[in-house]
C-alpha cells in the first residue's frame, strides 16, 4: 500500500517526535484544548442549567421539548457554515461550535436524570420533613449525578468532534488546522500524528471522567463498572 495512504508506524513516530520537538504539536494541542474547554464550559453550563430548569417546570418543558427534539438530531457539523456566517471566522465561532456540541447531551441527560428519580425518595424526604435545600442537595443532585456524568462524557466527545471539524475548515492553528495542512502538503504521517493526539485526548478525558465519577458517585460506578 502506498505510504501516502498508510505511512509506516515508524514514519508516524518520527513525525510525532519531530512535531513535538519543534513545539508546534504542543502549541496546536494547547490551542484546541483551550477552545474545547471554553466551549465545553459555556455550552455545558447552559445545557446543565436548561436541563435543571426544564425538569423543574412543566411549562418550560412544553416550550423546550419541541425545540430540543428538532435541534438535537441535526448534525452539529452541518451547522458549522451557519455558525461561521453568524460569528465570522475566528475564535468566537469555534467556541460557539464546541458549546453547541456540548449543550444538548448535557441538557438531555440532566433532564432525564432528574425526571427519572424514583418518587419514593422524594416521599421519604417529604415524610421526614426535609427542607427544600436539603431535598436538592441530598436527593436530587446525587440521584441525578450518574446520568449527568454520563452526559458530561457524551458532551465532551461531541464538543471534541465539532471543534476539530471547525478547525479543519476555519482555523489557522489547532489540531484540525494542523491536520488540514498536513493533507495539503501531502504529509500523511503528520496527519496520523494529529489523529493520534486527538484519540489520546479522548482516552485521557474519558479516563479522567471515570475517575471523577468514582470519587463523586462511588455507589454507582462500583456496581456499574
Amino acid at each position: 500500500m502506498s505510504p501516502l495512504y498508510c505511512p509506516a508506524p515508524s514514519a508516524i513516530a518520527v513525525a510525532l517526535l519531530r512535531l513535538t520537538t519543534r513545539g508546534v504539536l504542543l502549541a496546536d494541542t494547547a490551542t484546541t484544548l483551550l477552545r474545547l474547554a471554553l466551549g465545553f464550559v459555556v455550552g455545558g453550563s447552559i445545557g446543565l442549567g436548561l436541563g435543571l430548569a426544564m425538569s423543574w417546570s412543566a411549562r418550560l418543558r412544553r416550550i423546550g421539548d419541541p425545540v430540543v427534539a428538532a435541534a438535537h438530531p441535526i448534525p452539529k457539523t452541518a451547522i458549522l457554515p451557519l455558525i461561521l456566517v453568524v460569528f465570522g471566522i475566528g475564535e468566537p465561532a469555534i467556541v460557539a461550535a464546541a458549546a453547541i456540541g456540548a449543550c444538548f447531551p448535557l441538557l438531555i441527560n440532566t433532564m432525564t436524570g432528574v425526571r427519572q428519580i424514583d418518587p419514593i425518595y422524594l416521599e421519604v424526604a417529604a415524610n421526614y420533613g426535609s427542607r427544600p435545600l436539603d431535598v436538592v442537595l441530598k436527593i436530587i443532585v446525587p440521584a441525578s449525578l450518574p446520568s449527568i456524568l454520563a452526559g458530561v462524557r457524551i458532551a465532551f466527545n461531541a464538543a471534541l468532534v465539532v471543534t476539530i471539524a471547525i478547525e479543519l475548515v476555519a482555523a489557522e492553528r489547532g489540531l484540525g488546522a494542523m491536520m488540514w495542512l498536513a493533507r495539503e502538503t501531502l504529509r500523511t504521517e503528520d496527519l496520523y500524528a494529529g489523529l493520534i493526539v486527538v484519540a489520546t485526548l479522548g482516552i485521557g478525558f474519558n479516563a479522567l471522567l471515570r475517575w471523577v465519577a468514582g470519587v463523586l458517585a462511588p455507589w454507582h460506578s462500583r456496581h456499574a463498572a
Binding site: I120, Y128, R131, P142, A143, A217, P218, W219, H220, R222
Partner: protein, 250 residues
Amino acid sequence: MTYRTASGPLPALRDVSFTVGAGELVCVVGPSGCGKTTLLKLLAGLLTPSSGSVVTAPPPPGRPANALMFQEHALFPWMTVLENVTFALDGNGAGRRGRLDRAREFVERVGLTQFGAAYPHQLSAGMRQRVALARVLARNPYVWLMDEPFGALDGQTRLLLQEELLRTWEAHQQSILFVTHDIDEGVRLADRILVMTGRPGTMREQVVVTLPRPRQPLVGDGEAAEIKCRIWRLLEDEVRKTLYSPRAER
C-alpha cells in the same frame, strides 16, 4: 380517596374508617391494589384525602407525628448506611457530630455496626430492611406507618425481622399501622387486623387477635389457625376477583 388521573377519576379507597389506639399494633391485610399504600400515604400526610379526614393525637413535643417504612428500595443508594440513618435526624437541632453519634447507636442496635460505611447495594435485602428499621428508630416517630416492610424478604429473614420489630415495639410501645398481604405475619404481629376489600378499598371487617404474647412464629393450630382461616375466608373472594380482573393503572 379518589385519584384524578388522565383517564378520569379513579376511586382508590371508599368509606374507610378506623382508629388506632396509643401503643396499639394494627395490621391491614387486603388483596393487592386495594389501596393499602394510598391509605398509608394519607395517614403520612403525603396525600390529602378527597373527602373525609385523618385525625391524629398531637405527638409529644420533640417527636415527629409519624414516619413511613417502605417495602424496599427506599434507602438512598447514594448514602452509606450511616448517612441513611443520619438523614432521619436532620433538623433535630443536634450538630453534625451529634447526629452521627446518634445514628451510630441505632446502626449498632440493628446489628450493623461493621457496615456503617457500606452502601445499600452492598448489603443483603434483610440487612437493607434493618437499615430502614434503624432509620425509623432514629426518627422516633409517634406513629409508625409500615408498608409491607418485610414483603420482599425470604421467609426466614422475615421471621427474624418480625421478632426485631416486636422487641422494639414492646420496648417503646409506639402505635404501629402495619400493612401486609401475609396473613401469618398479621396474626403474629397484630393486636387487631383490618381486612380490606379490592378496589375501591373498603373496610370489610376488623378481627381482634387475642392470642397471648409473646407469640411463637409458625404456629398453625388452635386459635391462631382459626383466626387465619377466618381472615382468609374474608379475603378469598376479593383476591379471586382481583386475580381475574384486568389490572387498572394505579
